[in-house]
Symmetry: C2
Subunit: 415 residues, 2 copies
DNA sequence: GTTTGTTCGTAATGTTTACTAACAAACGTG
DNA sequence: CACGTTTGTTAGTAAACATTACGAACAAAC
């Protein structure tokens, strides 16, 4: 872990905040003259907070404000964040010194008062590497700008590589991407299949023959850059969260396998065994189903993984209209199955937004509609009136973009 | 909202922290000489943090430390929290001034050095009111000490009261509890059926005829005390979380209806429509099932609400051994149904601990075993090796104790 | 009995942080 | 041109925690 050697000061968890709704749920009582401390419904503080942590938080807040609505003045930022102009100026000076923020000159247009100096995140100051290892045939990598714009692409055929060979493939992609980067690299984000723990150790990715592989540490040692590794679906949901910053979001990623990424209360869900989202081998319904590679009957993956769907569709023949009808029914049935599995999750978490990621030609028609219908039929109507199920807007690049978001969030506290 | 008028200073959300595992997932990079801010995987800072917020947090940390492992010296607390002895002394002085902490004299036993002064949370300094409105026949209320010990009980027959009448019943319980309290009351916690928003407005509780009822505000206005209202199952899970402080916890509350309370990543799940845990009307399986009051077939509640189970069991007659066998099969079938619904939730969240709350005579035998078996059969074996399903240890008092925890957590940041 | 080393709690001081107050600069308006 | 407005900065203040230092109290060893 070379990268960790370079850390400054004690490494402590950073504070986060609850939503504004929860925040308003606060009462203070001057009981018996004793002002009693009040806080939101967050449980058990677990570590101390120093002034410098507070500053870090406020710094990230300023950066976030500029990131989401760039091209503002310091005074604008002050109004939006609630910090004073003085404090904002101070934080911005620090950000400018680090090259993350730039002054863009005076504001256009005519207004009374001293003209404002527009500042913005320098989206060209740093670049990010994003890797997607979830492809069965190909590993993808990109160089992005700070705003997630994809600048360069590198894809390498996996050619069945597993174990150490697959790691070397990853390292090779990283090397090539680094070669193509035209600005300092902020960090490397990797979306890997399988179970990945918070330290970036791939606990288990059978397809790649990886078990307890310290991928994060290896890449960090080799590049001396910050590296973040997480499960591909968990990474993908970050990309969608970046687009629609809701508090709760479920992304279903359908490809060679089926996985999910989940954000609850504005925070990614990891899972007790770091395997949150691994729903591919949950059994669907009570009427059997296709035999799965894992040995069980009726696993979600056995129902609707892409190979299974295409196989079914390819076997169709005959009258075009009849083929079309059969095709629709196959997809509808798969969509229903997804709805059956999701219903308890949507109900238990009271989710409002579910995103589908995968081949649009398979998912964006009868499949999608059947999933929605099934979800509505199987959950409480009143509660899920405003449930939305939509296709991912990022198409093939969800994981890549999510990997960039992961780095952005991890390094700068911004997304 | 009389209570809110008395609040001191700006009310802002308090910082919380991620787990120690996630905290270690931090890297800092002195890239190009620029120390880049680093934080955990929490997204989007939403509000500023002032020094006083940091102090509040640390104050709660000290209190929490004393609460969970009381009878320590200031130096002990300093070591455990990472704060210095000086800071701890300062915070403790504040807590002592407010009556929350007391000195208990010098430590027993022989050790070198100056003998420590033992301090502890004064568990008798304040009391808490807890209310459970989830009973179909009876509303329960208790007075508890700060540690959750139940000191007094008040129960009133509901006698079918709904709407305003039911509210008056609640107010009556509160009045009586206040009369029996023998110490200043820290606050009032209420577990209500139905959908409750974070401001304590009961959005919808059909059984009680409550719709958009601002219960929290009404009780706060009447008592001038801090009041916290939440869904009964969501409250109940707090009680269990108090007992086993895991990061993820699911509680299934089976009574007249079926509901769930969920803690993910150490924080209670609210849900986009404030209806998290409302799984009673999720359809189970794909083979129909009993007709539910809501009109659907095979709702979870139709399968395993207590009235439905007892009705089935009561109808049994004949040979004792045969009755016993039939009884076991009925319970097993119900348990299986619960397992079917929970499997996707357990899988998606990678839960390690699920708690059953309800009549032990129904749930603690074949029902429990069938649920576990079904869960294991329907989820990925490897991932859920260490899944535990256990009965609640709090029996009838889960909601009441949880209500107390809610107040404790909301007012003092402790649980 | 004395010395030594340890531990506890407190004082005093310094650093960091963000706030308030005040102000100069730059601009439109009457 | 005087005046009000807005911006960004400077100066000073208050809060919070760390560091350093110290007296008090005790155990253990001599």
């Amino acid at each position: 872990m070379t990268a960790t050697e370079t850390q400054r000061g004690p490494v402590t968890a950073e504070p986060t905040h609850t939503t504004s709704v929860a925040a308003s749920d606060l009462l203070t009582v001057p009981f018996a003259g004793a002002p009693i401390f009040t806080r939101s419904r967050a449980l058990r503080p677990t570590s101390k907070v120093l002034p410098e942590h507070a500053r870090s938080h406020n710094r990230a807040l300023v950066l976030q404000t500029l990131y989401t609505a760039g091209g503002q003045s310091r005074a604008d930022v002050a109004r939006e964040t609630g910090l004073t102009r003085v404090t904002v100026s101070d934080l911005v000076a620090e950000l400018i010194a680090e090259g993350l923020v730039v002054e863009l000159g005076p504001r256009e247009g005519v207004r009374p008062g001293k003209p404002a100096t527009i500042i913005d995140v320098d989206r060209a100051a740093f670049q990010i590497l994003g890797l997607d290892l979830s492809g069965h045939e190909v590993f993808h990598g990109v160089v992005t700008a700070l705003d997630g714009t994809i600048l360069e692409r590198v894809s390498l055929e996996r050619a069945g590589a597993t174990g150490e060979q697959a790691v070397e493939l990853v390292e090779s992609i990283v090397e090539r991407l680094l070669g193509r980067a035209t600005a300092p690299v902020l960090g490397i984000g990797v979306g890997s299949p399988g179970v990945v723990d918070p330290l970036g150790v791939v606990r288990s990715a059978p397809n790649l023959g990886w078990f307890d592989l310290p991928l994060q540490a290896r890449l960090a040692a080799r590049t001396e850059l910050p590296v973040h590794v997480a499960n591909d679906a968990n990474v993908a949901v970050l990309a969608e969260h970046g687009a629609t910053p809701l508090d709760d979001l479920l992304l279903i990623k359908i490809g060679h396998g089926v996985g999910a990424g989940l954000i609850v209360g504005g925070r990614p869900v990891i899972g007790g065994g770091f395997a949150a989202g691994e729903i591919g081998h949950v059994v669907v319904g009570t009427d059997g189903g296709p035999r799965c590679a894992c040995g069980k009957d009726g696993c979600l993956e056995a129902w609707l993984a892409v190979p299974r769907l295409t196989e079914q569709l390819d076997s169709l023949a005959g009258e075009p209209a009849a083929v079309q009808a059969a095709r629709d029914e196959i997809l509808r049935e798969a969509g229903r199955r997804l709805g059956i599995v999701l219903a308890p999750v949507v109900g238990a978490l009271n989710l409002t937004e579910v995103v589908l990621s995968g081949p649009a030609e398979l998912l964006d028609g009868p499949f999608h509609d059947a999933t929605v219908d099934t979800l509505r039929q199987r959950t409480m109507a009143v509660l899920n009136r405003d449930l939305r199920l939509r296709m991912s807007e990022q198409a093939e690049d969800v994981v890549l973009r999510g990997a960039a978001v992961m780095v952005l969030s991890g390094q700068l506290g911004v997304s």
